[in-house]
């Protein structure tokens, strides 16, 4: 598993709850060294242990924790580069939702070792979209819920989001697009300007 996943968890915990909580969590997961390198590889079991320790430490169900991570990836000022890369994917929020099917390949273009789950987007009646999430990152669907909610805000769209649970087709999310132009949304210029470095 590419260290980027664990590194994202680490910066999320440190940025949201502080470094000492992260140290406690890392120790509780049986980690010798609490520093993760984004570009190195780690045993997949480590991620699972980290999430268990985090849920226990923060007294929060794993699903809620993962949703917070998803929100963090778009909203936190340290995550500007991630938010920008997600804004590249679609001109407006609906376009972005449809582009989720390409997300796995798009990410691999940049970081070949990062394999996101396969996402399948189908339109249903009443401006609803169904997203099926299948892959090697269990719980990614919950991260996606947080991420999509934050991206909707970023685009200025009003949506309803639900995680419908795990099924034979993977994790299922339902998105109802109430109003695409509900608010102004955040500006996104293609030029990087004075962009700060990624974590």
């Amino acid at each position: 598993m590419l260290g980027l996943v664990n590194r994202m968890l680490q910066v999320f915990v440190v940025d949201t709850y502080g470094p000492s909580l992260w140290s406690d969590m890392a120790a509780a997961s049986g980690l010798g060294d609490p520093e993760f390198e984004a570009m190195l590889h780690y045993d997949s079991a480590v991620t699972d242990r980290l999430l268990t320790a985090a849920a226990r430490q923060l007294d929060k169900p794993r699903a809620a924790l993962l949703e917070d991570v998803g929100t963090y990836l778009v909203c936190h000022s340290n995550m500007q580069p991630v938010r920008r890369l997600l804004r590249f994917c679609g001109v407006d929020f609906l376009d972005f939702l449809h582009s989720l099917e390409d997300l796995r390949d798009r990410v691999r273009l940049a970081v070949p070792d990062l394999v996101l789950p396969d996402l399948e987007v189908t339109e249903a009646a009443g401006r609803r979209l169904r997203i099926a999430c299948r892959g090697d990152l269990p719980g990614f669907g919950h991260v996606l819920v947080g991420l999509l909610r934050a991206m909707a805000d970023d685009h200025g769209a009003l949506v309803l989001l639900d995680h419908l649970g795990d099924g034979p087709d993977g994790e299922i999310l339902e998105v109802t697009l109430i109003d695409e132009c509900f608010a102004e949304g955040r500006r996104f210029l293609l030029g990087r300007g004075a962009l700060e470095v990624a974590p």
Binding site: M39, P81, L85, F88, A110, L190
Partner: protein, 335 residues
């Protein structure tokens, strides 16, 4: 088929349609944004210049070479660059289709462009995504490399250091000797063995013994020059390498200074710990090619001689010739 003008705007947001007179009839919406207004009626070559190929500098030359890949530049600052190709419209004029090419990152920056300024089929946006994503990944990798390099340097340093005294360790001493003998450089070698160290350990405890070793670890560098190297190579054994032409008189004087310093009592837990030292001196002349082992054996023999003569003193290798030993006799030792 004639192409309706609005269709051209949709398909090519960056286009210029010129009449047979060379004046602009229509400019695509993104180009209008770049120019800050509608350039209708202006001569094409007033608006932009053809950078390459240089031969196509006039309207007639351009019209005579349709489809050639052109590099152009707007005349107005910031002189944004384009790649383009020009084709006749069948009515005496021509359409110039443009894109930013590799300069797209600068262009979007200079003109605050967004995705809607590009056709959905235009790969410019994908290129910018790739550029940003790859840059972030490269930055991350570069910082990792720097961290790994520092960690490696620190690990190498640790592998050559004796943790108790902070001096070099046996491996470090071996490296120094190998390097100097390979270079056939001149140097002197001191093999120091502490006298009565075992007694201090036995009577005052190992913590006292450690304190004595740490004291020696401090006084050795204090009494040596910048390029000299000291290492702890055994429990109470040290090696000192003195680069430079080995002068027996000066080496003996150094050894006696070191012995005097080592004999100063070390106070630990209120008790005075007293040790002395025997020192064997060996010399490696310039141009000599003695293997480190040979030299270490010579220093060993010298150390043995020092111990045999009563300890608390320095001696040279008894098997070495007169050039490798002290011309002056040994000064009498105070009891």
């Amino acid at each position: 088929m004639t192409l309706p003008a609005p269709l051209l705007d949709r398909l090519c947001p960056l286009h210029l349609w010129i009449g047979g007179d060379g004046r602009v009839r229509q400019a695509g919406p993104t180009l209008r944004k770049l120019l800050g207004g509608d350039p209708g009626g202006e001569p094409l070559l007033d608006l932009c210049e053809v950078v390459r190929p240089r031969a196509l500098a006039s309207l007639s030359a351009l019209l005579a070479a349709p489809g050639r890949k052109l590099r152009l530049r707007l005349r107005q600052p910031p002189r944004t660059g384009f790649v383009g190709h020009l084709h006749p419209d069948g009515a005496g004029g021509a359409v110039l289709d443009l894109s930013f090419g590799l300069a797209v990152a600068d262009a979007v920056q200079d003109h605050a462009l967004t995705s809607s300024d590009f056709a959905p089929t235009d790969l410019s946006v994908e290129l910018l995504f790739l550029l940003e994503a790859k840059t972030a990944a490269m930055d991350s990798s570069r910082r990792l490399n720097q961290r790994l390099q520092s960690a490696r340097a620190a690990a190498e340093e640790e592998a050559l250091t004796d943790p108790l005294t902070g001096l070099g360790n046996r491996r470090s001493a071996d490296q120094t000797l190998a390097r100097l003998s390979r270079a056939r450089a001149p140097f002197g070698l001191l093999h120091i063995d502490l006298d009565r160290f075992k007694q201090v350990n036995d009577s005052l405890g190992h913590a006292a013994g450690d304190a004595v070793l740490q004291a020696v670890g401090g006084l050795l560098p204090a009494n040596l020059r910048h390029g000299d190297r000291a290492a702890r190579v055994g429990g109470d054994e040290f090696l000192v390498v003195i680069p430079g032409t080995p002068d027996p008189g000066r080496l003996r004087a150094l050894a006696e200074r070191l012995i005097a310093a080592i004999e100063a009592p070390v106070i630990h837990d209120g008790a005075a710990c007293r040790v002395s030292a025997s020192i064997g001196i060996a010399l490696h002349a310039a141009g000599a090619a003695q293997a480190p082992d040979t030299l270490l054996r010579a220093a060993d023999r010298a150390l043995y001689a020092a111990k045999a003569r009563g300890r608390g003193r320095a001696a040279f290798d008894p098997e070495a010739g007169p050039a490798a030993s002290d011309p002056a006799p040994e000064a009498p030792r105070a009891p």
